[in-house]
């Protein structure tokens, strides 16, 4: 779905916020798509990492409403290892999660995990998922 660029869809200083949180210069991205080509979770993402990078460059914060990309990211760092522009994209994804998590919104609810998952999953899965997907 196309995202319209207007004063209603853009957020002033969105790039600055993401850059402060991630420590990365998102304008270095020249849209080659290596990140998307490398991403093991791509087929489950609403928007590819490349597209998300472009949306951030355009400060289209609204364009990322209800887009699952940063929530499907498993922080595997493949994109970061391969980015020819040296951008640590995993950190950009973390910044996107943090912008939302810091509004006290959770992506998963720990209390709603199935009994089976809690019983079977290794502790590191739970600690990692709560760190990445809950506020």
């Amino acid at each position: 779905m196309p995202v319209k660029i207007s004063s209603e869809t853009t957020t002033k200083d969105f790039v600055q916020k993401i850059e402060e949180l991630s420590g990365q210069n998102v304008h270095l991205c020249f849209q080659c798509g290596t990140c998307s080509g490398s991403c093991p979770m791509l087929e489950h993402m609403d928007f590819s990492p490349r597209k998300v990078m472009h949306i951030i460059q355009l400060e289209l914060e609204k364009g990322l409403d209800n887009i699952n990309t940063c929530w499907i990211c498993a922080s595997c760092h493949t994109c970061s290892a391969r980015c020819p522009r040296g951008i640590d994209i995993a950190r950009v994804m973390e910044a996107l999660r943090q912008v939302i998590l810091r509004k006290n919104k959770n992506y998963i609810e720990p209390s709603k995990l199935s009994e089976e998952a809690v019983k079977e999953c290794p502790q590191i899965a739970m600690v990692a998922a709560f760190r990445k997907l809950t506020s």
Partner: protein, 293 residues
Amino acid sequence: MKVNYYPGCTLKSKAKNLEDAAIASMKKLGIEMEEVERWNCCGAVHSLADDDLIHQVASVRNLVRVKEQGGDKVLTLCSMCYNSLARANLLMRDDKEKRGTINSFMDEEIDYFGEIEVVHLLNFLENEIGWDKIREKVKVPLKDLKIAPYYGCTLQRPKEVGIEPVGSFNLMINFIEALGASVVKFPASAYCCGSYQVLGDGDAAGDAAATILNMAKTAGANVLAVSCPLCEFNLGKKQKTLLSEQKILEKIPTFYFTQLLAIALGLKPEVCRFELNEKSVVEFLKSKNYLSS
């Protein structure tokens, strides 16, 4: 020879098979693993937000414990613990400003400057013991095993903490060869297993895991060797679900590399705690005569 050892939470329960096999094997190789006193959870994942220092504290506190106890290096087995501790260590060594903030926040602890070396067992085996010595100590060469080496994400990325350069898998290749098994190179050695997304989006994590298992099978492997309890969960115990969802067509026995070491050193199978692996591994080992029935 003694070495300080950080186990981490999962190795004390659901991945006791990773730990027990390592401790017994290392003893056989003349190394005593001495558990760091009063260790705590490492936090499992390194915090990637620039202003989020509070989530570095858990890892740094463990490194402080090692320093306090007079150590200069700490051995880890779990890939996620290795990654979290090694990255927190780099932060404390290289970022003066953040180091200052973290040290003054933990004012009840001694100051820490990143002086401890965080070592993964695969590096330790190569540098401190050596593949030749391991080869000499092997009692049961694993000649019927065709092992695909699997590193996952956290042993290689980011490159600053990688146990070896991205795209090179020589540590595990040399390890497998020292045990007398054959190495099956396959393209997914550093693919992501789906990681913690097993709790966030199980379908996506299942697809990521299935890709790796299918590639290992296609390459001709009959065993997958891993180092991380979360990889073992997604690529091992989850195989039953992946089969029922038809994401994979066949199981492939998945072992911690420490279990393979223990079998090859001729240790009692009890130290491998196979009951904690995916069920079919025991039958598989019996069929290859590495376990008596």
